[in-house]
Amino acid sequence: MSEDIKVKDGLRESATFDRNTMTEIRRAAETGIYDIRGFGAKRKLPHFDDLLFLGASMSRYPLEGYREKCNTSVTLGTRYAKKPIVLDIPVTIAGMSFGALSANAKEALGRGASLMGTSTTTGDGGMTPEERGQSSKLVYQYLPSRYGMNPDDLRKADAIEVVLGQGAKPGGGGMLLGQKITDRVAKMRTLPMGVDQRSACRHPDWTGPDDLAIKIQELREITDWQVPIYIKVGATRTYYDVKLAVKAGADVIVVDGMQGGTAATQDVFIEHVGIPTLAAIPQAVRALQEMGMHRKVQLIVSGGIRNGADVAKCMALGADAVAIGTAALIALGCNHPMYDEEFKKIGSAAGFYDDYHEGKDPAGISTQDPELMKRLDPVDGGRRLANYLNVLTLEAQTLARACGKNDLRNLEPEDLVALTVESAAMANVPLAGTSWIPGKGY
């Protein structure tokens, strides 16, 4: 409702029962089913925009932006793996499944990541030859469903990511609805075509951190201790989860905040479970520091990373690298305005489309429709992703140099202030213009 209408007619919209809420009540009343959708949390949350950098001036010495180097590389998996992964930039591509995404989209992600010397990640559904072939560094996800899991692919991976949860749905499993289950997807998952594929919310053969430690040992044994093993958790009780993950033997911990995306789950899950990425990072870093493992067990953060400022802020809070999913898809063309007319035909609009599970994505990314898939050229998509990753890196370097840092990992909480009391409390940095950190005094 526009302000003009309210002023002219004296109408007042309820803040509690706004139009989105009313629409959802009507939809629920008509269908009897909860809303399933993709994307991530759409509600406004405390986020990295609520933090600012304190650039150098008299009390700090900046680096020359065009002449002095600022290192962006990061090595992951130095704790136990014989072959840690070296990334040229601290931005990786998060796990997204073949099935949820088209083969072309997976290939494009691999191409883009490889052009920038970083890694991409498989997803629920196994490893495709296209993805492995085009990814110079590929992380293989080990998920509760174990769809497509086999020791040959495990040994082809450059790292293994044991997925306990994801930010969009911590505590929940995945769902790939039957309309996206083509013959190829079905065969990779050993299920009939057209059947809804439910992914379990917990692993079938271990039930707690002590078991997980043995499971990780098994994966190390099978791969002869060659590659790093990550543990990925959705951000909830992050402090405790990170401590347990370290104890279980992780080389790398991935913390995915509630802004992280998904291919399909219940809207109520996406919007009401988990904590914001901003709130999770200090918890994870504190847990690592208390165990003397910060920088020894590397921390990757994901969930709502959009630009180089977000990257730099994550690293200033203590992350070693970040992972992007939704932003990478947008770089490929997801929700692109050029398809606005087609989005309207399926009841959506460019910039709003989140029904990834229906498999009708006009941009050809979250679909298995052969005709729609052709719209994404994997070479072109890979180039766009590489460009975007390059911009993220350049922006992060710019901010780091302005703070006097010659390595992105030298950024620190002392370089940050918060714009709101909430973000100051969550990020554990002072409110701008003060030395006050909520809960810690002055």
Partner: protein, 227 residues
């Protein structure tokens, strides 16, 4: 025959030696002494070799096995033969929970009983249990066959996809979308072949067959009470 005593060498040493056989097979017969319940023994094998483990094993023994024939002369801990791809694994004693979890192929024979979640999320393996199986066995079973010569616990075959289940004894309860089905001639043949492969002397006509009702294959609002 090559013998490795696990009080003298580590599981790492054993597994590396067994993995090396995939590159160049120098010994087909292996014997492992004094396993003493250690975890991850003989996992990740990828060669047509036989491994006899003389004693009880811990978690994930013969995990992700390919081609190899592993015999455990004792009880097996959690997740024995998990995600097996091919070959055979035989447990002479009992098996703990999640035996054969997510396994894609091969044959797992448990001569004693199997605990909870036997064959959970199995994807093509054949499992023959001479004794009983615990609750939630074959949960989300996708493919392959589970044969139980004794009784089955609660919620057998919950959320089942296409695994064939045969039980000779009592089934305490069936899980969501799992129903008893007719035992037709092709099923007698399949079961006979499974029992023969497992070396189990049982009358296939004494078994009942269970499978998916396929009512939960696609989300329907009318089925919400079952989810």
């Amino acid at each position: 025959m090559k013998t490795i005593n696990l009080t003298e060498q580590s599981v790492r040493d054993l597994n590396q030696a067994l993995h090396d056989q995939a590159i160049e097979c120098t010994e087909r017969e292996w014997e492992v002494l004094e396993p003493k319940g250690q975890h991850n023994i003989a996992c990740g094998l990828d060669q047509n070799i036989s491994v006899d483990i003389k004693g009880p094993t811990g978690y994930y023994c013969a995990g992700m096995n390919k081609k190899a024939h592993v015999t455990i002369h004792g009880n097996a801990g959690q997740g024995v033969a998990e995600n097996m791809m091919s070959g055979t694994v035989r447990v002479k004693g009992d098996a703990s929970q999640a035996a054969g979890a997510t396994a894609h192929g091969g044959l797992l024979v448990i001569e004693g009983n199997a605990a909870a979640r036997c064959g959970i999320s199995m994807k093509g393996v054949d499992i023959v249990v001479k004794g009983n199986v615990g609750h939630m066995s074959c949960f989300m079973g996708q493919a392959g066959a589970l044969v139980v010569c004794g009784d089955a616990g609660d919620a057998l075959g919950d959320s089942l996809y296409e695994t064939h289940i045969y039980v000779k004894g009592e089934v305490k309860s069936l899980g969501a979308d799992c129903i008893q089905k007719d035992m037709r001639e092709e099923h007698i043949e399949e079961l006979t072949e499974l029992l023969n492969r497992a070396g189990v002397d049982e009358d296939p006509t004494a078994f009942k067959r269970y499978g998916s009702a396929r009512q939960l294959y696609n989300f329907k609002v009318d089925n919400t009470s079952a989810y």
